[in-house]
């Protein structure tokens, strides 16, 4: 069932309808996730959100560390990766991770909003391009899919 359109309108006192809320899902399996974000706040917030769902979550703050972690054999069900990263950017890090044969779900979560950036991130290998913030309407269907509850829409 497609979620109803979110009618939250900031600034005019409109009613907020929330088709999904962050606490609406219970996972049956222990999923693992990696958050790759150079911004301290965003990295820890995304980790906090995933941990609230029960995902075992690691974080790194640059693309090179992400590639090295995966090259060392670490496996994840889900990777959230930002585009603008120090040392090795998110595009190249994603390419290298995919080149290693990693097929897990990868979300490109970025403050960029342009079509050019979207196409570049998808071409690099992410499954989904998400403009920050990462909200439950995006995350919950993906977690359900990974948990084997039902395919995401």
């Amino acid at each position: 069932m497609a979620p109803a359109a979110d009618e939250a309108k900031s600034g005019n006192g409109g009613q907020i309808q929330r088709p999904f809320t962050f606490n609406e899902i219970v996972l049956r399996n222990r999923l693992t996730a990696l958050v790759v974000d150079g911004d301290n706040f965003c990295r820890l917030l995304q980790q906090g959100i995933l941990q609230a769902y029960g995902l075992q979550t690691q974080t790194v703050d640059n693309g090179d560390a992400a590639v090295e972690l995966i090259a060392s054999g670490a496996k994840f069900d889900l990777i959230l990766i930002d585009m603008l990263l120090p040392i090795l950017d998110g595009l190249e890090a994603t390419r290298r991770i995919r080149a290693m044969g990693v097929n897990c779900k990868m979300l490109g979560v970025t403050a960029f909003s342009g079509e050019r950036e979207r196409q570049a991130f998808l071409a690099a290998g992410v499954d989904l391009f998400v403009e920050k913030p990462l909200g439950p309407e995006v995350l919950i269907p993906i977690l359900r899919e990974l948990d084997g509850q039902y395919p995401s829409i």
Partner: protein
């Protein structure tokens, strides 16, 4: 007596958050984060706000430094604004995010005067947000103190 005080404070908290939504200071993302706070994670919102403010102040200080140079490094300025835009979006700081979008545009046009104006707007929105967050956290701490007294 405590029950009435707690109820009154909770109403005050809820009304104040709603006013922040009504003014466009916060958007739906903040209420999503509030949903994550529960008995297993009782200080989640407080921690998120504290982390955000520490991060934002560091970024704003850096942006101020770059804008004070005679020759502004627009590329470095832009990367900081981009970062603040991302964290503002992530906490639901709607007006602050919009102010970041304006500064990114001015930075892209390499217009120092407009950058300074846009930066002042960012600083204003951040100070407003921070003072409102501080008020919210004060109410929350009073609620927690009263609830602990009851137990």
């Amino acid at each position: 007596m405590n029950q009435m005080a707690i109820a009154a404070l909770k109403n005050q908290y809820k009304s104040f958050v709603q006013s922040m939504f009504d003014e466009g200071v916060l958007d739906n993302q903040f209420s999503q984060l509030q949903d994550l706070q529960d008995s297993s994670n009782p200080n989640f919102v407080d921690e998120v706000i504290t982390l955000f403010c520490n991060d934002a102040e560091r970024i704003i200080t850096e942006m101020n430094r770059y804008l004070n140079y005679q020759n502004v490094d627009f590329s470095k300025l832009d990367s900081h604004v981009h970062q603040l835009k991302g964290s503002s979006s992530s906490i639901g700081a709607h007006r602050l995010k919009l102010a970041c979008v304006n500064l990114r545009q001015a930075s892209y046009e390499r217009n120092k005067e407009e950058c300074v104006e846009a930066f002042n707007s960012i600083r204003h929105e951040y100070c407003l947000l921070r003072s409102k967050f501080q008020f919210l956290m004060q109410i929350e701490r009073r609620i927690v103190a009263l609830e602990n007294n009851q137990q």
